[in-house]
């Protein structure tokens, strides 16, 4: 009994990831055959760069969905966080009474942007736990609130020309890979460890798997939920900084509908929307599948409209496969 033999749950996760992996390999092979520009180091770098923002959002989304929740506000929080960081970097805060201008360094502006993400994410969690508002509704409201605040803050205009230092976040290169890719890798590494090895990660699965049993086992369910929405907000802000830096501009409509791409990646990666089942690595595979699909279809000069259709079909296929297997299990 003390022999920790290979086990059904990790096996199931592994089997699910293995399927996603096969799907990805098949996809890559097909694209390589169809296009001579696809299977190159340059294009691989491109794909990784393109998905890095979605990876940050989707990892946060995975945490929320593992507890049985959902976060529709990540795209709007991304926009507000990037606008606040860009605005402070550019204009600082004038303190009129002292006739002073509070200047922000790149680090200070980024910290302020992330603080915005933390605050709005925490507010989502507060609404969900304190007032028992369904996550769908609470974060749908935040989707509107944060987007509106972004438009107010920017007065509807992009904030541009953010300088070299800030530009390094999105356009810098380190060891041959763009900085956003390193950031995404770092985020993934941290949260793979958190979900697989740490107490907090175990609690996410427990709360999503059976909230009542978790509560009766002494878990502080509300604190755990508060934490995941806060983390999702923070990761949205990180994604916002990457986006603003890459474009050298904070756009008021940045991140529009990004929440849907993040949810798509989580679902394709095999995480159950009812909570308690799934993994961060699965989500990364989901992001890669979407990224390869988008990139390949562009190279094959398939119209953007067809790309949307294909992405929708892939989501249906992934979930249908899951459902059939769950039923059989």
């Amino acid at each position: 009994m003390s022999d920790p033999s290979p086990s059904p749950r990790p096996m199931r996760d592994f089997a699910r990831q293995f399927q996603s992996m096969i799907a990805l390999v098949v996809l890559v092979a097909a694209m390589s055959l169809l296009s001579d520009t696809f299977f190159t180091a340059e294009n691989a770098r491109n794909i990784l760069l393109q998905i890095s923002i979605n990876v940050c959002l989707a990892v946060g989304m995975t945490l929320v969905i593992l507890t049985g929740g959902i976060d529709l506000s990540v795209g709007s929080i991304l926009a507000l966080a990037s606008a606040v960081a860009a605005g402070l970097l550019k204009d600082g805060i004038p303190i009129e009474s002292a006739n002073l201008l509070l200047d922000f360094t790149v680090w200070g502006a980024c910290a302020a942007g992330i603080a915005v993400g933390v605050a709005l994410g925490w507010f989502n969690g507060f609404m969900v736990t304190r007032f028992r508002i369904p996550a769908f509704v609470a974060t749908l409201a935040m989707l509107g609130i944060a987007r509106g605040l972004t438009n107010l803050w920017t007065r509807g205009h992009p904030i541009t020309a953010l300088g070299e230092g800030f530009g390094a976040i999105g356009r810098g290169v380190f060891l041959g890979l763009p900085m956003p890719v390193w950031i995404a890798v770092g985020v993934v590494a941290v949260f793979v460890v958190v979900t697989k090895r740490m107490r907090f990660g175990r609690h996410l699965y427990a709360v999503g798997g059976n909230e009542r049993a978790s509560l009766l086992s002494g878990l502080r369910v509300n604190r755990i939920k508060l934490a995941v929405y806060t983390l999702a907000g923070a990761l949205s802000a990180v994604a916002g900084l990457i986006l603003a830096s890459r474009l050298d501009a904070a756009q008021p409509n940045a991140g529009f509908t990004y929440e849907l791409n993040a949810i798509a990646a989580v679902v394709i990666g095999g995480t159950s929307l009812s909570g308690g089942r799934g993994s961060v690595m699965g989500t990364v595979l989901g992001c890669l599948i979407i990224g390869v699909l988008n990139n390949g279809l562009v190279l094959l000069e398939v119209s953007a409209h067809w790309q949307q259709v294909v992405k929708g079909l892939v989501i249906l296929a992934a979930v249908a496969v899951d459902q059939v297997q769950t039923k059989r299990a």
Binding site: P6, S7, R197, S214, L216, S217
Partner: protein, 518 residues
Amino acid sequence: MVATQTPTVELVARGIGKSFPGVRALDDVDLTIVGGELHAILGENGAGKSTLMNILSGVFPPDTGTIEINGEPVTLGNPREAKARGIAMIHQELNLIPGLSIAENLFLGREFRTRLGFVDYARMRSESRQLLERLDLHHLDPDTPVEKLRVGQQQMIEIAKALSFDSKVIIMDEPTSAISDTEVDALFKQVDALKARGVAIVYITHKMDEVWRAAEKITVLRDGKRVASGRLADFGRDEAVRLMVGRNLDLSGMRKEEGAAHGDAFLAVDGISLPHPSRPDRWLVKDVSFSLRRGEILGIFGLMGAGRTELLECLFGLHAKKVSGTVTLENRELRLRAPSDAIAAGIGLAPEDRKAEGIVLGMAVRENTSMAVLDRMSRLGFIRRGAEAEEASRFVDRLRIKTPSLAQAVRNLSGGNQQKVVLAKWLATEPAVLMLDEPTRGIDINAKREIYDLLAELAAEGLGVLVVSSELPEILAISDRIVVLREGRKSAEFDREGANEENLLRAALPGNLDSDHE
């Protein structure tokens, strides 16, 4: 739907048998129901009453036996067929849709339609009004949403619905469990009117007063068998109670050895009360006090709805803001605001609904076992997997949990082994007091035996154990002392020598039996 005299009906069930995996729920039961009479079905929890009623109302078919209505053999394959044959059942949990109006509820699924296919509200309203008038409910407007009605009124709507099917047999399952005394009076007036119209009423209840007030005949079930049936006048109350007890569960040799209880009370529960959430004049738990010694197994017996589960929940830090009373453990008064407080104080709870509240089905045996002690099992937020596996493996060995590995999802274990995982989770917290709510529900006899042995063993090690059970033989077999709850209040307390099935059941039955011996 004019109020005509319904011709007298006679329903005869013969040799009804039904088995579920591991349980013989009904065994060769005969029942005859005649129009114009109220036939009360009596029996302890688990005697087979609900199974029999579900068969009569077409919820599931019997394994053996026949049912005849007015001499004609019938099969009742589903509730719809039963309704078509004039049999309607009013379940304990009402099956009304709160947001819909009275009229919409009455004709749900068979709405009248106009020639154009729209719902014919005018006709539904007028038909509803007629039905309500038959029940003297003139004051109710058919357009009122059902959620605005009191529970007793909702019960009457269910009865109106049963009438609208032109029912000849109406089965009522504990209809008065949630309604006030005046509503009970109104209900019985309608019952009399129905009887006068030739309708047969089958009435399931624990309340002896109601039986003696309205029944013509009674049938007593025990262990799925009919032990008595006949005219009410031929039975005394004491006799009826005696017939209900004496269940033949094979617990021979399971009776716990003389208690190892020692020392003074270390847990004192004083004046615990919990108000009813929606009825300010009622209490789920009212002024319950008891104490527990180390090494003692205290049984808590009560019928459905007596407040057993709620009492344990109060002691575990649930309903924190509504509970009054004090809990003192080792001379320290506890502040129980959440389960985590209770756990920190050394109290564990194995809840009644194992799958919904006790375990996370999708998680492994190892993960479920460590759930309440992860703080101890981790360093700097990282789970010490070695220590976790070691602890889980220790409990798998000790409790003889049958599982292929520690990583097996508990979903794939049997009910008995799932229950052992719940116990492992609590034993890992090294509790001072372990509370178990119906610890052997739905598990097989061997696993039951193991759990009884384990409880005795834990008590011998000095743990205080509280066991809630609605099974008389079980509670008698394992308890050193027994507290009986009746309608939220403590109605009696017995020591080992003084307790027997009859006096426990008498103390648990609502309607004061002691005051009117016959």
